[in-house]
């Protein structure tokens, strides 16, 4: 593995939600997060070229995505929404958090059955190809990022994996790693859920109405 990658700690969190004071559904909603604490190789200085770490993160992301699905005790096909985020320690800059956009998205799409051009996606080139023949996970992976100290909480958005406009799946999960990030660390996060909000009832596009397979509707 690249010498730019040093994973110090990994935290997984799985929530099983039975109800929120309304009628309990047939099956509980499972939401999960995985957070990896990495050394920030660019901490404490301005580095113009940070792309090498982005490439090196692809394997980290895939490992995290697999670890999360396993921790949730489900199959990849059971995942219906996803999101990602990053928290940059104080000696880094917000742009370091942006290193996670491509590898974080690639990792989950790969795992969930996306069949687009991997090499182009890995290199961050081109938009996601359209059409059901490209499999599930067509939606853009929603994200948040911030600079923060140890224990900083990040609200990581969740949206439907195939069509971003599916309203019942809009959600967010609060994620934090007690004690991290230190000033010279990065926390990279993936979140996934097995379904819509536990008592979703504000209308909008339903999963069974997805028809365009353009990642949106």
């Amino acid at each position: 593995m690249s010498d730019l990658i040093e994973v110090r700690r990994v935290l997984t969190e799985v929530e099983t939600i039975f109800h929120e004071f309304g009628p309990a559904g047939k099956k509980p909603l499972i939401r999960g997060a995985v957070a990896a604490v990495l050394k920030n190789p660019y901490a404490g200085r301005y580095e113009e070229n940070i792309v090498p770490m982005m490439d090196a993160l692809n394997d980290v992301g895939l490992d995290m995505a697999q670890r999360l699905v396993a921790a949730m005790g489900v199959q990849a096909d059971d995942i219906e929404s996803y999101g990602k985020g990053s928290i940059v320690g104080g000696a880094g800059e917000l742009e370091h958090g942006a290193l996670w956009h491509v590898p974080g998205g690639y990792a989950m799409r790969e795992l969930l059955g996306w069949k687009g051009d991997r090499s182009a996606y890995k290199q961050g080139q081109g938009s996601v190809p359209k059409g059901l023949e490209n499999g599930r996970a067509l939606s853009i992976v929603p994200s948040t990022k911030k600079v923060g100290g140890p224990g900083t909480k990040l609200d990581v958005p969740l949206t439907h994996v195939t069509a971003s406009y599916v309203r019942g799946h809009f959600d967010a999960m609060e994620v934090h790693v007690p004690g991290a990030p230190a000033a010279d660390e990065l926390v990279f996060i993936l979140v996934m859920a097995t379904g819509e909000r536990i008592h979703q009832r504000v209308g909008g596009l339903r999963p069974e109405q997805i028809s365009k397979y353009d990642g949106l509707r």
Binding site: V10, L11, V14, E15, T16, G151
Partner: protein, 194 residues
């Protein structure tokens, strides 16, 4: 009456590197939490039997969830702890009713053995309150390498009429223990202390 559980949360925290040193195998701490309805919210009840029964139920459930999340056999568990956060319509004594009378026996079954006291903490708290769950070696409370704590928190709980109950189990002590004291190799495991 069994616990009315709104949600459960299981966290596994794995440390691979500490202070630049590789930790091999990594140290791992699990925390399992249940968000339950407080049957005594908003009133004073002299008798707290329902919460005592809930504590017994959750000791087994949460202990087993921790062991499963760590992917270990029960006998591989090394330290444990417990805690509760009571929502504002409850009373601190409600946490005591869950934690102290009956939670321990089924937890010890889930981790096998467990001669040592299960260290605990409790507090009143609002939504998103965090509690630091103390950790101690399950067979000998004086084992210094295993004194630790792990944070437990559920972002949307406890609501005023809820209680967050947490059980923590590890398969290891601190990542780089080096302050002496009783060693794991010296455990007798009879009196719960040494």
């Amino acid at each position: 009456m069994s616990a009315k559980i709104r949600k459960t949360v299981v966290v596994v925290d794995e440390t691979r590197i500490e202070m630049g040193k590789q930790i091999e195998p990594p140290t791992r701490r699990a925390v399992a939490m249940a968000v339950i309805e407080n049957p005594y919210a908003g009133r004073y009840s002299e008798n707290l039997d329902e919460l005592i029964a809930i504590g017994e139920e959750l000791g087994g459930l949460l202990g087993e969830q921790c062991v499963k999340a760590l992917g270990i056999q029960p006998e591989q568990a090394e330290s444990y702890g417990k805690a509760a956060i009571v929502g504002e319509s409850g009373e601190l004594e409600h946490a005591a009713a869950i934690l102290h009378p009956k939670l321990g026996a089924p937890l010890r079954k889930a981790v096998q053995k467990g001669a040592a006291l299960v260290p605990s903490s409790k507090k009143m708290g609002g939504i998103g309150s965090a509690i630091d769950v103390p950790l101690g070696h399950k067979d000998a409370a004086f084992v210094r390498s295993h004194f630790d704590a792990v944070e437990a928190r559920v972002s949307d709980a406890p609501r005023a009429n809820e209680i967050v109950v947490a059980v923590a189990v590890t398969d290891s002590g601190r990542p780089l223990p080096r302050v002496g004291g009783l060693q794991v190799s010296e455990i007798k495991g009879e009196d719960g202390l040494r």
